[in-house]
Each structure stands twice: as C-alpha cells, then as structure tokens.
Symmetry: C2
Subunit: 373 residues, 2 copies
C-alpha cells in the first residue's frame, strides 16, 4: 500500500507565477490546437504569443506580478482532501495533485508525484465546471500523453470527472458569491443591478464542431439565477477573445460598453466559468472592463468574488469527488461522445479506466497486478 | 361584462395553410428585420423569398399541402382554456386567440376577435418556450403595433408570458416525447441512440446583440436530459439556416452528416424549440435530414414526436397561464431587459400593462375607465 489510496489530479489552465513565465505560458497556449486553431499555427502561434508577451507582463505586474491560481488550487485541493477523508473513509487517504496545462506543475509533475506517493486509483478532476474540448478535453488528452512520456502508462487506474455544470454544491457556492457581490450595492439599489454573467469565449470553429460548452454555461447560469431567487435582470456574455478568428458572442466588453451607453448605472459581473481568480478576473474584469465601465457611465460596476477558497466551494469539490467515487463510474455519460465534427482520435479516451464494477467496489482493497511506488 | 373575462393571445410564427400562401408568408418573413437582418433588405428580402417560393411550395406539397400549425395551435388553445376554466375559476371564462406573425390569423385578427368578445384582461402568451428577440420579441412588437393600427390601443390591460424554458410541465411533456421517441428503437439498442436536440438557428448578429436564446435552449436541454435519467449521450445543434449571413452552430445537418460518417447507427432527433409540427419537423427533420441520415449510414434515424396536442402539454400550457395569473406579474423579470446591443426602441414594451397589485387582485372585477366591447 502506498501513502495515499486515492489520488485526485486537479486539472486547470494555470497561469504564470511570475513575469518570466509569461512568454513560455503564452507560447504553450498558442501552440495548443485543442484550444485555438490558427492558420499557419506554427508560425502565427509564436508570433501572437511573443507580440502579446509585453502587454500581458504589464497586466500581471499590476495584479501582483503573477497569477494566484496555483495558490488557490492548492488551497482548494487541501480543503477537498481533508473533507474527503471524513466523507469517504473507504477511499481514504486522499491526496490531490495539480496539473496545469501550460505551466508548472504540469501533468508530468502530477503523475510523477502521484506515483511516488504509491497511488494506484487516480481521478482526473477537471476544475472547469463546464466541459469544452478546448479546456477539459485538452487537459485530459495531455494527461494521457504525459503518462506515455513518463512511462507511467500502466501505473494508475483512472476515472474522470469531466464536468459539473449544475452540481448542487457548485450552484450553491456560485449563488453565495452572487449574493455577496450584490452586497456591494446600496440596499435600495441592489435589485436594480444587472447581473452580467461572463464566461471565457471560444472560437466559433470549436462551437461549430459541436462543443458542449455554451449549452452547459447556459445551464449553469439558469440554475444560479433560479437558486438566487432575486428579481435582477441578467445577461450572459463571453470574454477574452484573442487572435484573428471569430469567437462566440456576445462579447462581455461590448455588452458593458452598450449597457453604459444606454444608461445602466449598476452592473454586477459574475465569472461563471472560472473557479479561481486569475488574470481574466483580476485584470480583465476588474481593471480593464472596470475602467471601461467608468468611461461609459456605469457608476456602480462591481464583480462578485471568485469561488477561490470559500468553504462552501471546498464542500462542493469534496462532494463532487465523493459522489463520483460512490457512483462507480469511469466518466460522465457525455464524455465518450465525441463532438460531431471531431477529427482528433485522441479525444474522449480514458487511459486504463477503472472498471465500473470494480469502481463500485473500490471501497474494498483488492489484489493488484502492478504495485505502484 | 363581456363573454370572456380573460383573453389569451397565443403568439407563434405560423405557417402557410396552403400552397398559395407560401409566397406571401416568405415575403413577410424575409421583410422582418427583427428576425433576420439582410443587407439591402428591401431588395434582397423579396428576392430570397421569391426565389425560395417554388422550393418551399414543393416541400409543403409533400407534407400534405400546408402547415398544420394552425390546427395544432387551436387544439392547444382549446385544451388550455378548458383546463384553465377549471384551474382558475376566478379568472374564468378564458378564451384563446391565435396571432401568427407572417400569416393569418395575425395580431389584428386576434385583437379584433378579443375586442368583439368583450375581453378586457389580456395575456400575450408566446408559444416559443425560449425567448428570442427574433421570435417572441418580434411577435410582441407586432402585437403592440397592431393594437395601434386597429385603434385598440387602450382596449385591453396586458400582461406577457414571454418565456418558459424550464417550466416543470413543459419539461415533463418534452421528456415524455423523448421517451416515446426512444421506443422506436429496439429495446437492446435504446440506450445507444444519440439524442440530437435541434433548435431553430439564429443569425450570429442576433446572438452578438445579446439574445438570450442559446442560453435558454441550453437550460431546456439540460433539464430534459436530467429529468429523462437515461444514459444516452446527447448533442445540441441548430437547424434551418437560410440566406447569406453566418448562423449559430453547430448545424444540425452537418452534425447528422458527421455522426453518420463516423459510424453512429442510431440517432433520435428531438425538436426542443418547436411545440407543434411544422415544416421544420415534418419536412426538414423527417424528410430532408432523414434522407441524409440514410445516405451517411445512420440505419436508425428517428424523431421524437412534437408536443402537438398531447394532454401533458395542454396541462403545461394551462399551468403556465395559471401560475402567471396567480403571480400578478406583468411579465418575467427578464423581459424589460433589452439586449445589450438593442437599437430598436420598440423592444421590451408592454402596452397598457396590468398593474402588479391589480393583477394580483384580478380575481375581483373592478370599475373600469373604458368599457370594451
């Protein structure tokens, strides 16, 4: 037996921890054809990445010199496994391992650490609530490639938590952030604020392949509004478009501009697809769009807090994993269903998947063909 | 007192009842800048409409020579008011009035009939479950214009049922249609069928203005799948794109082509945004895509039935109106919120809206400044 019985790989985009990491981060991001497909990508990807580096470094320098996403992810992981050890003693002890897509710690780091800890039963847990091939899909494909590269192809039995757009605990935690966001307005004005849900946009080519992202975002937004039970109007928009392709709209930036122009005075922006603060919240939503909002006459522009380390979200993370372990499933019903337009044979695989029956019985230690560690 | 206490205007697109009505229908459709914005619309609209007429006539001739939408809407209306008279005696007797957007009976017809029936309290009830400015929005704006044209500007006190994407009864009825759809497959294959939810597409320009449609479609789909509780994978796609603009994807046609090409054998198409059969189900989904599916090797291509006259849907319609009347609201929280990119001052108005307090007390007859009828 290893140190830990269940390993949970927390997969996310990641962000540069300091200014020197900005260029390598952007180079990896714009090289990933699973997140963005550019004409002449080998040339145009690095070109865009390098051209954007000074600007992005400038943005990071204004939010403390780096992304806080690793710090938050580690705090989330700690809170999650602590709860899981209590909630699911059969699968304890649990440990978490961070796997970012474009920056350290990467999939290799997670896999090697998990192997060193003697873990055999592993869960790939996406930290994106809504599934997209360009986020969760790309992270999973990279995880399996990294397992091959590190020679850990057979080291683990895997299952996948690939989406949780309307998980009850997630919706509860999101609703709490919106309520807190609304507290930033004067009581008399609170019900006049427009709730502007904002999600990271996707290139339309990804949407046209059949990516589930927009419908899962819609489902999350609708559920939060329903649970919230307030009478504020709401909108959904998409942020962070880059590069020379057309993206899913409406654009958050343009929506803010237009709301201001037509006289809205109070806007609460709600990040619905990010679980931790990073540059898209701290810089883009808070600073860039905050200045824009001010210029166009939105006198009260606020953002609801990110989920970050809030206990209700840590509860949600633990509950998602507990439910997953108890279900005995290797993945969601949706995961094996490739996008209609998918041309990537790597997609929707699970390396060495835990067998459903065994997963259901995973509370019982069973003889293992290979012993890890 | 008039013959009826509460009038319910059932608003929908409509469809040509016979082949002679195809051209006028298409001319009105392509002239409506609220549903489609074309360059040089005054010229290009009629051009596209006339060019499409023979083709569309050919399609209608194959589905019985006309659209059954009026027949279904009238059956829905009868079932709805019959139930309402039982469920909500305080607001009875109820009567329904059909208002199609591009063909008789139009808004004028509904308003005149309602006036002749001595109705004062009127509800504009969209028959599109999910809100879009190009469907419900356009119908409402036309209704208020028609009231002005007919001199019935002050004849009614209005409230609006502008959307019901996750109404419990609607989701129940939809779920029932999907279950029935699945019965068309052999029991052993039933859980292998891909559920392909299909909604009418929208031009991206409409989406980019901030139209709520895609997120409400996403919410409906998610809720149906949840209620269904089956393990079939599902996809959402958009159908019926026409004209020289880019539309919201993925395209239902292309999705079917690609599913077949990659070897899927069983597909159940589920119309999620239409409540009655019309050309988009009977011709496009059943015939056109059915033939396509056959060509690309989908051996079992089926469609779940439209809601049409099924009792559970009539229950839903009545329940939506009952809830609305009981709420005392003039419209949903969302309705007054214009799209961020809206440039149409007509949008999101309510003519002579019922006052919330009065609406709540609408069970009591009260003195009226103007007596209708």
């Amino acid at each position: 037996m290893g140190t830990y019985k269940t390993g949970i790989v927390m997969m996310n985009l990641g962000g540069p921890a300091n200014l020197d990491e900005v260029e390598p981060f952007l180079l990896e991001l714009f090289a990933d054809r699973e997140i963005i497909q550019l004409p002449f990508q080998r040339w145009l990807g690095p070109f865009i990445a390098r051209r954007r580096t000074p600007k992005v470094q400038g943005l990071y320098s204004k939010i403390g010199g780096g992304s806080p996403i690793l710090r938050y992810t580690e705090a989330q992981g700690r809170g999650m496994v602590e709860r899981l050890d209590r909630l699911s003693p059969e699968t304890a002890p649990h440990q978490f391992y961070v796997a970012f897509r474009y920056i350290q710690p990467k999939s290799e780091d997670a896999l090697r650490a998990m192997h060193a800890d003697g873990v055999r039963r592993a869960i790939a847990f996406t930290q994106y609530p809504q599934f997209s091939c360009s986020t969760t899909g790309s992270s999973l494909n990279e995880l399996w490639r990294a397992a091959a590269r590190t020679g850990l192809h057979d080291a683990f039995e895997w299952s996948v938590i690939d989406r949780w757009p309307v998980h009850d605990g997630f919706i509860d935690a999101m609703t709490e952030t919106v309520r807190e966001g609304l507290l930033q307005f004067e009581p008399a004005d609170r019900d006049k604020a427009v709730l502007l849900f904002s999600a990271h946009s996707l290139p339309l080519d990804v949407i046209d392949r059949g990516d589930a992202y927009p419908q899962e975002i819609g489902a999350s937004v609708h559920r939060v509004v329903e649970r919230l039970g307030v009478s504020n109007p709401y909108l959904l928009a998409y942020q962070s478009e880059v590069g020379p392709v057309r993206w899913q709209g409406p654009s958050t930036e343009r929506v803010i501009r237009r709301l201001g122009t037509r006289g809205e005075k109070r806007v609460l922006v709600v990040p619905i697809a990010f679980t931790s603060d990073h540059i898209e919240t701290l810089s883009e939503l808070d600073r860039e769009y905050g200045e824009l909002a001010h210029r166009v006459g939105i006198t009260h522009y606020k953002r609801s807090p990110a989920l970050n380390e809030r206990p209700r979200f840590l509860d949600a993370l633990a509950d998602i994993v507990r439910e997953h372990l108890a279900s005995g499933r290797a993945c969601s019903t949706q995961y094996p269903m490739r996008c209609a337009g998918c041309t990537n044979p790597q997609c929707r695989n699970i390396l060495n998947p835990v067998k459903p029956a065994e997963a259901a019985r995973s509370v019982e230690p069973r003889p293992r063909v290979r012993v890890a560690g």
